[in-house]
Amino acid sequence: MEEQREKKNPPVSGAGILRMLLILFLAAAAFLFFAQRILMPKYTGSVIEGCFTEEYYREEYPHELLIIGNCESYENISTMELWEEYGITSFIRGNSNQLIPQSYYLLREALEYETPKVVLLNIQAMTIPEQDTESYNRMVFDGMRWSKNKLEAILETKMEEEHLTEYLFPLLRYHDRWKELTAEDFRYAFQERPERSYNGYYLRADIRPYTEFPAERRKPDYTFPENNYEYLDRIEALCREKGIALVLMKAPSLYPEWPEPYEEQVEAYAKEHGLLYLNTLEEAEAIGLDFFTDTYDEGLHLNVYGAEKVSQWLGPILKERYGLSDQRSDSRVAAVYNEKLDRYEAEKEAQRKEFEELGYISKFQND
């Protein structure tokens, strides 16, 4: 009986079993590699913010201006307007709810590729002590290239329930997306997806006028978190070390509120370190902002019309103060930027028309 069984199933040596396991493991790993490419979100639907970090690496030419910060940075300044009007080459390394430490690591990484003349930091994130939404962290980090910067940034800012393992193997995070895959997930699994931002700028041409926000509850303490100060110091030191001018800016977002104690802290910091601080909320009139036409979400963020006004106001200040050059005369740079500008104008016009006809823009309907 035993002999018969052995004849039917000849014993396999230990080395044979190990070989078999290794081959199957490699096959499974290859399968999971492909699965991961398909399952990773492509951010091509109504939420496109997850594309921004990655699109930085597609840039061919260095930038004279780098803008860093959270949503107030990538929705309130039009990089294309800066180019069109002043020939300023710029990129916004900003993401939804991007924390100050994350801005530091994204800046540190960017400075390994280039040395801009000016770094403009939107300082609203100084008020945010820690990340409260995991998907925002994923949007910051998923598109970031692996380096010491990324590793340190993840370890420093991940939420308690997040695991480094899931950043190392994103499949473990996105494994359950098999239920919601679309054609685009397959299309862009192994093919570069088209750029969604305009050098980090998020274009919105819809209009939703300002209405009054509910009053924010008074806080017992408005002091910025210690950790944010620490990373602001690091940003300042990094810029100083590289001979880059650091500019602090509060974007013209009406909400969340920007009470006096916040303003005083930023002013004090700017004064102490000899930095330029631009509070565009106070300059709204000079900029020409009309919160009934220049915002797409009732004053939280500006639409393209508002962002262009801010850029028109900002461009001359930066040019005069820091000598940013007009690069429109450089034909190679101009070719790249003008192509982006054409895409920008076309998108702006398409959104304008759709909004005019429908009163909304369909691709943002799920916002």
Binding site: R5, N9, V12, S13, G14, A15, G16, I17, L18, M20, L21, L24, F25, A27, A28, F31, L32, A35, E134, E161, E162, H163, T165, E166, L171, L172, R173, H175, D176, W178, K179
Partner: protein, 520 residues
């Protein structure tokens, strides 16, 4: 740290690499060190302290018993047992009187103010306390010599594989393997991985999906009744099984990776044809512990022998001799239920209800015999067997309703609700409102079919007569019983790996970290 955490997988991987790099007693040191790390991580310093204290008491008492005279030996044994039982009682049953009063008042619809005392029990105290008491009793009875190596006894007492949810191993069975050098064997790697992945599949693919139904329905008893509650009871039985047995598969599979065979704890319990058989296939190591260390010794006492004589006088020879058995069953099942926690939902759901089933089965056995004789029914008839399995499933599921309930009031509310006519579950709208995505339902159905197929295959390779008796030690491993050809096993393991990674409920947005039995 849970067995499904990345941290646990890393701990196992690193421990394995070190384990097979060393020889002899150093392998036990690696296991001990890994176990200490695991306990510190999962339960903190206080857990480590109490586990070490418990182990030290038993180790020293074992030596003292072997060296002591008869009278003193008993004193040492009693003292050590009191210490182990005392710690268990303090940490687990301090609130038992309060919960009892609360349950009594609730059942009578009265208010009762009771605030449970918060005392964080050491990790796995219910499991390691029984292991320690089993060891002490075995040494006291002279079944095994006392442990001579503090390291291997330390490994037995703290082993990170069985410390949280069992199985309730016995030192006599682990001492041998722990004293030998364990060489790396590819066969162990294949079998261990297969079983580990099967456990992960049961937990992350099946149990967590079933939990969607169970939590949704039991979480809103004001809304759900009738068919929903019956469905929830069925799902919970399957959830508990896939959760607990899944954990055991992971534990035993990981044990195999280390070349250690731990005690089998499950043997396809839902193929049982009676409640008694069910408990010989479910949480086997616990049932065996109570059988060997409580039931048998109880039946051998003078008091029980006298009880037998008394019963014969009272009920006649045939039925009267069952009296000690019934009293013994009552004591054992009461304590078995109590072991799960000092709440009456456990005492009834995992204890007295089953005791009642078994006593009734004993009492009505002659009637059943007459029924079979009169009808000429073949007990091995497939339909009759299926009926018996279904009946057992229903009886057991009723117990699990108590087990799942927060209070007796809730359990009775569920049973009452089952009687309310509501066929909403059978409408598309009523079914999908439970929150299960269609794609997940497909995975669940296919997964349950796979579970059934695997269980059937294992059942065919089992010698049912030996269920629970030999504790599976001499049997072929899980993987070999399932698929004899190594290549088939390896392909099965790979498929499981892919299914767990892609279909498992884990990671962000899921809370699959805790196993149901880990709270005991």
């Amino acid at each position: 740290m849970s067995y499904t955490s990345y941290g646990f997988l890393m701990l196992v991987l690193i421990s394995l690499l070190l384990y097979y790099s060393f020889r002899g007693r150093f392998q036990n040191l690696v296991l001990l060190f890994a176990s200490i790390l695991f306990i510190l991580w999962a339960g903190g310093l206080s857990s480590l302290f109490f586990i070490a204290l418990s182990a030290a008491i038993s180790f020293l008492a074992g030596i003292a018993m072997d060296r002591a005279q008869a009278g003193r030996k008993k004193a040492v044994y009693v003292l050590a047992m009191l210490a182990q039982g005392g710690m268990l009682a303090v940490f687990k049953y301090l609130n038992f009187p309060g919960y009892t009063m609360l349950a009594l008042h609730e059942l009578r619809g009265l208010e009762y103010e009771f605030t449970a005392m918060e005392l964080a029990a050491p990790l796995g105290i219910s499991f390691y306390a029984l292991m320690q008491m089993g060891y002490l009793t075995d040494v006291y009875w002279g079944r095994i010599p006392h442990a001579s190596s503090p390291v291997s006894y330390g490994v037995f007492s703290s082993l990170f594989l069985h410390i949280i949810q069992g199985p309730i191993d016995r030192y006599g069975q682990l001492a041998g393997p722990l004293s030998e050098r364990r060489r790396f064997q590819a066969e162990n790697l294949l079998n261990g991985l297969t079983r580990l992945l099967w456990g992960l599949f049961k937990k992350l693919v099946l149990s967590e999906r079933l939990a969607v139904f169970v939590n949704g329905i039991y979480g809103d008893l004001e809304v759900y009744n009738g068919s929903y509650l019956v469905f929830a009871a069925i799902c919970y039985s399957l959830q508990l099984y896939t959760d607990f047995s899944g954990c055991m598969d992971m534990v035993l599979g990981t044990g195999e990776l280390f070349g250690i065979r731990l005690t089998e704890n499950f043997k396809q319990p839902f193929f049982s044809r009676s409640d008694a058989e069910f408990w010989r296939r479910w949480h086997i190591s616990l049932g065996n512990w109570f059988r060997d260390y409580l039931m048998y010794p109880l039946l051998r006492t003078e008091a029980f022998k006298r009880l037998g004589k008394f019963g014969k006088k009272l009920f006649g020879k045939k039925q009267g001799k069952k009296l000690p058995l019934c009293v013994g069953l009552f004591i054992v099942w009461f304590l078995l239920g109590l072991w799960h926690g000092g709440m009456w939902t456990f005492i009834i759901g995992s204890g007295l209800l089953h005791c009642t089933y078994m006593i009734l089965a004993e009492i009505f056995e002659p009637a059943f015999q007459r029924f079979y004789k009169a009808t000429g029914l073949d007990r091995e008839n497939r339909i009759w067997r299926a009926f018996q399995m279904l009946r057992t499933f229903v009886l057991v599921s009723a117990g699990f309703v108590f087990f799942r309930s927060d209070s007796l009031t809730m359990a009775f509310q569920i049973f009452r609700g089952m009687g309310t006519p509501n066929g909403g579950l059978f409408t598309a709208e009523g079914f999908w409102e439970l929150g299960m995505a269609p794609a997940d339902l497909w995975v669940l159905v296919l997964g349950l079919l796979l579970l059934f197929a695997v269980s059937r295959k294992l059942e065919q390779t089992e010698e049912i007569a030996s269920v629970g008796m030999e504790e599976g030690r001499d049997q072929a491993s899980f993987g070999e019983r399932l698929l004899a050809v190594p290549l088939h096993r390896a392909v099965f393991a790979t498929a499981l790996f892919l299914m767990v990674v892609l279909w498992g409920f884990y990671g962000q947005g899921y809370d699959a970290a805790s196993f149901i039995y880990s709270r005991f």
